[in-house]
């Protein structure tokens, strides 16, 4: 499973980093999010899925094998 944050859509709501702090890092200057790694490590899938579901701008997407 791969995760992607669309930088044009992200407005820095920061919910993804609250839900999956190991997976998303926030820019120091504007709080916009980016994935720590594109490949989602085993055990983080559910949190990433919850981050996708919780993004107010619907800026996060996942692709590939869900497992």
């Amino acid at each position: 499973m791969k995760v992607h944050v669309d930088p044009e859509r992200c407005q820095g709501h920061t919910l993804c980093a609250m839900i999956a702090p190991e997976m998303f890092e926030l820019d120091d200057i504007d709080g916009h999010s980016s994935p720590v790694t594109e490949q989602v490590p085993a055990g983080q899938e559910a949190r990433v899925a919850e981050a996708v579901r919780s993004c107010p701008e619907q800026a996060i997407s996942v692709s590939g094998d869900p497992a």
């Binding site: 407005q11 820095g12 709501h13 919910l15 120091d28 504007d30 579901r53 701008e57």
Partner: protein, 450 residues
Amino acid sequence: MSAEEADRKKNLYHFDRHTPEYRHQFEAITAEMHARCPIAWSDTYGGHWVAAGAREVFELARSAEYLSNDHDVNNERRGYKGITIPTPQSMFQSGFLEMDPPEQRHYRQALNPYLSPAAVARWTPVVAELVRACLDEKIETGRIDFVDDLANVVPAVLTLALMGIPMKHWTIYCEPIHAAVYTPPDSPDMAQVRDRQIEMYRDMFAQLKAIKENPRPGLIDALARAVINGRTPPDLELLGVMTLIIGGGFDTTTALTAHALEWLGEHPDQRERLSRERETLLDSATEEFLRFYTPAPGDGRTIAADCEIAGQRFKEGERLWLSWAMANRDPSVFPGPNEIDLARTGNRHHSFGLGIHRCIGSNVARMVFKQMATAVLDRMPDYRCDPAGAVHYQTIGVIQGMRHLPATFTPGARLGAGLDETIEAMRRVCDEQWLAEPVTVRTATAEIVR
């Protein structure tokens, strides 16, 4: 009205969010609009669109190319009326919230490094001290008004500190901002509110002038140095931005905190659960209170070009109300929307707005709310609010706020100095540690030695 016009506006709904009835019937009106007309045409205030559905609000708010926030107070562009419906008497532009890009983006870029999660985290120990002092003022008496004695105070003091205004000036700013929202325009009290607002603007202008002459760190310094679309903005425009920061920073967090404490007081089992499980529950509970109480219930826009969005055709120049508050109760996104679920998942609420104008102070709001709420849970765990003394704003058209929330609790021991002494101590911390600098200049968290 032509047949085409009538067809475009066939979803009619008489929508008046400034009436007490709207507050009292909020859930019924919201459910009716979601079911029948998630985008409606209302005849009120010269006629305007109302977006109530989550999908509709989402699509509209993110269509920046077709929507304008511009408040063209001097009629130099297209005469658009900004974000307030109806158009206020004031000839002030509400800062960059009433601007479009690129100016709007330039302002945000200037201020972001003071308000990002990393920038705000540096202030947490200062906020904890201010909260501690507010509670210490009341802890021995067993009585507190959560609005007057806590939730009104801390956001105001911190906002001024972030701006670079002396924190002890909070009394000049706090009541005029609060009262301007809750006082009906036709009230006999309005004259006094205006007098205090004039006093506040006088201090604001003096602060701007002083910081321009002798720079000291903070948001005002960033504004004084900002180049916006190739020009240095006039003072009047900067005062509009300062007013936006103050208006956004004060009454909204106050409203969120008061409502959350009121609800927790009414649900002691949930209060104990939140206190016990705060490690896992505080974030989701904060987002849920934000969703449910939506302190800033919506924003106006002007349609900037003919377009079709979310299945609705709009014409250039038409006015639109985006209701964050109603979108937050849409059952298609939030199951059981009228229930508070402290552990709610998938809570992509709209309370900070969406798109390019999203609240720039959201990280401040969350941090200050969490500090106030957890300190009350720790130090006044058995508080009981007095429903007879609780005063909600009569209308929720501008802010869904509270004027008073008195409570009683088992008295406890003070932990430190009172508020005035603490504000002076925090002034020294801010000055000596240059806390009001942007995160690009200073990254260390405040250190407080007591």
